[in-house]
Amino acid sequence: MTVGLTHYLVVSTLLFCLGLYGVLTRRNAVAILMGIELMLNAGNINLVAFNRYVAPGAVNGHVFALVVITLAACEAAVGLALVMAAYRSLETVHVDEINVMKW
């Protein structure tokens, strides 16, 4: 039995749903960002696996995976800066306690 496209898709589905569970249930904003990183990784596995098994000669899936990695780095930097700003003015990083629009 060889490893096929479906195997990779099953693992990336499970990883995506674990990330979704983390996003939905965590209170800490940093932990929510970790869940988002897991979901982005699941999407990247999909892109590279489809590239390998549907169009093996092309590199389009690799290109999109690289763009997603770059945007994930941007998103992590800006998101963590927002967490720092919220912590400095509100003294908390728990998203259910951050409930004011202006301090």
Binding site: L15, C17, R26, A31, P56, V93
Partner: protein, 163 residues
């Protein structure tokens, strides 16, 4: 056979730390559990013959993003103690939503006939990706670099201390 064994080992290396990431009470343990997950995904990329993406994954995810997350955990010490409640009251609801989504995706996935093609990947992965970025995808490349610059400036402006 060896490929299947490697796949199973890498799947466990990805999924078990991912469970720890979303369930651990200790936020630093969550952040450090991201590292084996990212390295397992790197192993997947190598199995899928995407060596360049694998290298970038190690550099950016396992290197930069994990360190960034650890820095912010250290700087926001008020929210990271083990005695602080880390889960909100939506745990049953969130678990139900995630399980239903997984079930739905798996059903769709096994019912779909994927258009499989056979062929050999290009011999020089990084060279092909580089020429693709500078020919067909040059607009994406430029916009991504602009987004990088803007997020750099934005992160500095948001995170600096107000005078």
């Amino acid at each position: 056979m060896g490929e299947l064994a490697a796949f199973i080992v890498l799947s466990l290396v990805i999924l078990i730390p991912a469970v720890i990431v979303v369930t651990s009470r200790n936020i630093v343990r969550s952040a450090l559990s991201l590292v084996p997950t990212f390295l397992g995904v790197t192993g997947f990329y190598i199995m899928l013959q995407a060596e360049f993406v694998a290298g970038i994954q190690v550099l950016i995810y396992a290197g930069a993003i994990t360190v960034l997350i650890l820095f912010v955990i250290m700087l926001t010490e008020g929210g990271s103690g083990v005695d602080v409640r880390q889960m909100n009251e939506q745990v049953p609801l969130g678990a139900t939503a995630a399980l239903w989504l997984a079930f739905l995706i798996l059903v769709v996935l096994f019912r779909t006939q994927w258009p499989a093609a056979s062929g050999q990947p290009p011999a020089y992965n990084a060279a092909t990706i580089g020429s693709a970025f500078l020919s067909s995808y040059v607009l994406i490349f430029e916009v991504t670099s602009l987004v990088l610059l803007l997020s750099l400036i934005g992160a500095i402006v948001i995170a600096r201390r107000e005078e």
